[in-house]
């Protein structure tokens, strides 16, 4: 192909950015899928504007898609970009701060006109200044060349311009020596019924690729395949993984799935994904509100289904009262909260970890329930499954916390086959003896009698109930007994979850502690620090309530404990309640953004 030079890189971060209508999400997904197919490890994160279609050309309307791929393990979508694609001045303006020095910036120079510069809030054309900086700038006439490539195609102007993104994708494919075949196939599949459109996209893609090849100044980079585990892979976002985890639990428990939910950003995708899977028998109930979402699910659970409800912070708040009903009736229920920036409506499209205390402590009365958290897009699958397993086997509502960052982010996932998952054992009531709905086993778990079964007719409800019989009871001592048994049942879950693992030395100067969606950034920071010779380890929590049984054992082996969270210290509070014997340092960020690996590293270093 006559390239001037080929350099080998370990890992690269690319950020595609443009107007909401510019198709950046598609572009990014194509690049990451192609890279994954080549055997790279990949992590991606989309960054939408809060508005559906914010005014064209404005900074508020910029839509981004960042991806990080490499031949080593990739844990985050990357802090700073090696390559920025900016489809217009606003995209440049919004993203320049994220470009590494020495990085490459690909611009559609045709968009740098007065109107667009003004919309982006530039007083002067930024290009002259930019060129003085430490960047490798590729000024591509994207719009013009796209039009040219499709001259005579018979397509109207609007349709033609919609393919612009493929021109830049072509450039980037050339830059990193990727084949076009995956994307070409994609268009053939997608536009099977509109071959003209498929052709147009493919033509422009090739045009971009050829354009890049033609420019002498360009270096093509090679990123070799990562050393990754053998197996069958697919790309998956956190929300899709969550949905699939529930489906898997349904199959493994033999219980049909019911999901009662009300749409809310960023949790809506889970409901949407599930509603596509009627083929697996899932009943999705788009409720009139969050309360109906959880209460229909409680009804479905009573009726004997695997029931779940999905939401985000404000929705979890609305479900608070009904969560208490699930606690006192001791019915299995999975509640998924995809956390976002709060309080109130807050920053609905941004990520945050600020619903932890609400999840663990935010209910009237003594209403304990297990809380777990996923930590990567792909392990949302496992933790959704776990939430269902704990709910069913322990007859309790369970909250699964994810967040906007891992929910929308994606990564290649080595598919867990169904054999690798445990069976979920349903504690069905026996029909051979008189039924005592609140009789408990050694795990403090009651049995489940499914309506329709002769001989197990019984009544449950939200009033305190007599131990064993479940009849309404105002007996003072019984209330204390039942309150304790409900707590004991939740505490006993600790016996059925894995112990806390540490990555790094079993004793060290500093333990970086995190939970949930910050895993990728924290582990990357810990690795770097370790490589630089710091005495650092990392412990990440997926089980929040109850905490793993060895938690104190782990914590006590480190001189300093640094709890890093995207909130003002909620997990630190939770640890303090449980283990007041340790002192905790904290590092917090409340900006609606994930950590950067760099800021963790820098902060950690101040502790040495």
């Amino acid at each position: 192909m006559g390239k001037k030079a080929t350099a080998e890189l370990k890992q690269v971060v690319i950020r595609f950015s443009g107007d909401s209508g510019d198709g950046m999400q598609l572009t990014g997904t194509q690049f990451s899928n192609t890279s994954a197919l080549l055997g790279n490890d990949v992590s991606t994160f989309p960054d939408y504007p809060a508005e559906i279609r914010a005014p064209q050309g404005t900074v508020g309307g910029v839509s981004g898609f960042q991806l990080h791929f490499g031949q080593t393990e990739i844990n985050t979508p990357g802090d700073y970009a090696d390559v920025l694609v900016a489809m217009n001045p606003a995209a440049l303006r919004a993203n320049l701060r994220w470009v590494k020095s020495g990085g490459t910036i690909i611009l559609d120079v045709d968009s740098f006109n007065d109107k667009n510069l003004k919309r982006a809030g530039y007083v002067n054309d930024p290009l002259p200044e930019l060129k003085k900086g430490d960047y490798n700038i590729i000024e591509a006439p994207v719009t013009e060349f796209t039009k040219k490539a499709l001259e005579g195609s018979g397509l109207d102007q609007k349709t033609v311009l919609k393919t612009k993104n493929m021109f830049t994708l072509g450039i980037v494919y050339w830059l990193f020596d990727r084949p076009l075949s995956y994307t070409e196939q994609f268009f053939d599949d997608k536009f099977g019924k509109k071959p003209q459109i498929a052709e147009a996209n493919k033509t422009v893609l090739r045009a971009g690729f050829n354009f890049a090849e033609t420019i002498e100044a360009l270096v093509s980079h090679k990123v070799a395949a990562a050393e990754i585990e053998k197996g069958v892979y697919r790309n998956i976002t956190g929300n899709v993984a969550t949905a699939w985890g529930l489906l898997a639990a349904s199959e493994k428990s033999g219980l049909p799935l019911f999901v009662g939910s009300y749409p809310i950003t960023p949790a809506t995708d889970i409901l949407q994904e599930l509603s596509e899977h009627k083929n697996l028998g899932v009943k999705t109930f788009q409720a009139e509100d969050e309360i109906a979402g959880i209460v229909t699910s409680i009804g479905a659970s009573f009726a004997g289904l695997l029931a779940a409800t999905t939401t985000s912070g404000p929705g979890l708040a609305l479900k608070t009262e009904a969560l208490g009903l699930a606690v006192i009736t001791e019915l299995p229920l999975v509640v998924i909260d995809v956390q976002r920036g709060g309080p109130s409506t807050g920053l609905p499209t941004k990520t945050e970890q600020s619903d932890l205390l609400q999840a663990v402590y935010g209910r009237n009365g003594e209403a304990p329930m297990p809380v777990i958290a996923a930590s990567t897009p792909s392990n949302c699958y496992f933790y959704a499954f776990e939430a269902a397993r704990i709910a069913v086997e322990h007859m309790t509502p369970v909250i699964l916390l994810t967040d906007g960052f891992i929910a929308n982010g994606s990564q290649p996932w080595k598919i867990t086959s169904m054999d690798e998952l445990p069976k979920i054992n349903v504690p069905y009531a026996k029909t051979d003896a008189p039924y005592l709905p609140y009789e408990r086993d050694e795990k403090f778990v009651r049995t489940w009698a499914i309506p329709g079964t002769a001989g197990l007719e019984h009544r449950i409800g939200g009033l305190e109930k007599m131990a064993k019989t479940g009849n309404v009871s105002y007996v003072p001592e019984n209330h204390e007994v039942m309150t304790k048994e409900r707590q004991d049942k939740v505490d006993a879950v600790a016996n059925f979850i894995p112990e806390l693992q540490v990555e790094g030395a079993t004793e060290a100067d500093l333990l970086i502690v995190g939970w949930g969606g910050t895993y990728g950034h924290l582990i990357s920071a810990a690795h770097t620090l370790q490589e630089e010779g710091y005495s650092v380890a990392h412990a990440h929590f997926n089980y929040i309530n109850p905490l793993p049984k060895n938690t104190a054992e782990v914590l006590k082996r480190y001189k300093k404990i640094l709890v890093c969270e995207l909130n003002s210290g909620q997990f630190k509070k939770h640890l303090t309640i449980n283990f007041p014997q340790f002192s905790y340092l904290q590092y917090n960020k409340i900006q609606g953004l994930p950590f950067t690996v760099l800021e963790i590293i820098e902060h950690a270093k101040t502790l040495f």
Partner: protein, 338 residues
């Protein structure tokens, strides 16, 4: 459905002591439900009785069926969940005027809109009983209660009008002191597929005693009520010689034999008519000019939500190549690292 089980109403009584006030209309309704269920002959284990919170909502405890005493206002959502999860169950939602129309108003109109196959028994005593006597959304304008010592300034809902406004397909009305009528209406409601709303005029002896007396008093009820039956002329009165006719687009009560009126002039009740105009007029009838309508006022057939959900799933299952999780996991874009 109608199997041979030879139940009597006693088979539907649970072992729990009834804790309503002596004389409360709720007890009479309980009897009627137990009688209706026995008559229906369906298996006991197939009934699920679901409620919210209120005096009326204690109901499930007294039934020997599956039962769920939920939280305040959520009876409709709870019942919808149970029914959609398992359409083979016969689900009875027990609710009060506060439970269904105050805090639970939204679930009420949405379950009706969706046409989930439920029997909703709305105990309308025009008061919050359990919290000891505050006005409810059905209390009359000006009513003096614990929270309206100077009279309410709120217009009440009409259960029937709200039901029709939410596109209700079935609405019936009955009274707690008419065991036979209640039983008949409950049986009709169970046979109707879709959301059946039954407003029961219920007497709260403690906080709103006698509020329905003008309508329900046994001495005058033949004059003050009209019992509607599909396909039958709209007749009422002690001698069954009064009837309803249309006067422009309003209803009028007339007496057969007076002013040249014959039985042929009397309107015939068509509960199955889809257009709700006439049903609304019947629902709106008020004393003293017109008798209050009882019985099944509206009963229109339509696909139920639970049935449509089931059918859609069956259809998608058939037409999809993905039959289980393994198929799904390995569908679409995957690649292998060897």
């Amino acid at each position: 459905m109608s199997e041979q089980n030879n139940y009597t109403f006693k088979d539907f009584k649970s072992d729990q002591e009834i804790r309503w006030c002596p004389g409360c209309g709720d007890s009479a309704i309980l009897n009627a439900v137990q009688k209706a269920m026995a008559d229906l002959g369906r298996k006991k284990e197939e009934y699920a009785v679901v409620s919210g919170i209120g005096c009326s909502s204690r109901f499930p405890y007294y039934m020997a069926t599956y039962g769920f005493h939920g939280i305040h206002g959520r009876a409709g959502a709870l019942a919808s969940g149970v029914k959609v999860a398992n359409p083979h169950l016969s689900v009875w939602q027990i609710t009060g005027d506060g439970d269904a129309l105050a805090i639970g108003g939204n679930h009420f109109i949405h379950e009706i809109r969706r046409n989930v196959d439920l029997n909703i028994l709305l105990f309308n005593n025009e008061i919050y009983g359990l919290t000891k006597g505050q006005y409810s959304p059905t209390s009359k304008y000006g009513k003096i209660t614990k929270t309206s010592p100077f009279g309410t300034v709120e217009y009440p809902f009409s259960v029937g009008e709200l039901t029709v406004g939410a596109h209700g397909k079935f609405f019936a009305r009955t009274t707690d002191n008419n065991l036979k009528q209640m039983t008949d209406v409950f049986i009709e409601a169970e046979h109707h597929r879709g959301t059946s709303v039954i407003e029961i005029l219920q007497n709260c002896v403690i906080f709103n005693d006698g509020v329905h007396d003008l309508i329900t008093d046994k001495n005058t009820r033949e004059e003050h009520q009209i019992y509607l039956e599909h396909g039958k002329p709209m007749l009422f009165g002690k001698d069954n010689n009064k009837g309803l006719v249309l006067d422009g687009w309003k209803l009028k009560a007339v007496t057969i034999g007076e002013d040249g009126i014959t039985e042929a002039d009397i309107l015939v009740h068509d509960a199955h008519e889809e257009n709700p105009t006439m049903h609304s007029m019947l629902i709106n009838m008020k004393l003293p000019d017109l008798p209050v309508a009882m019985g099944v006022i509206r009963a229109v057939k339509a696909t139920t939500y639970d049935e449509a959900v089931t059918k859609q799933i069956e259809w998608v299952k058939e037409s999809s190549k993905i039959k289980n999780m393994t198929d799904l996991l390995f569908s679409g874009n995957t690649w292998e690292v060897k």
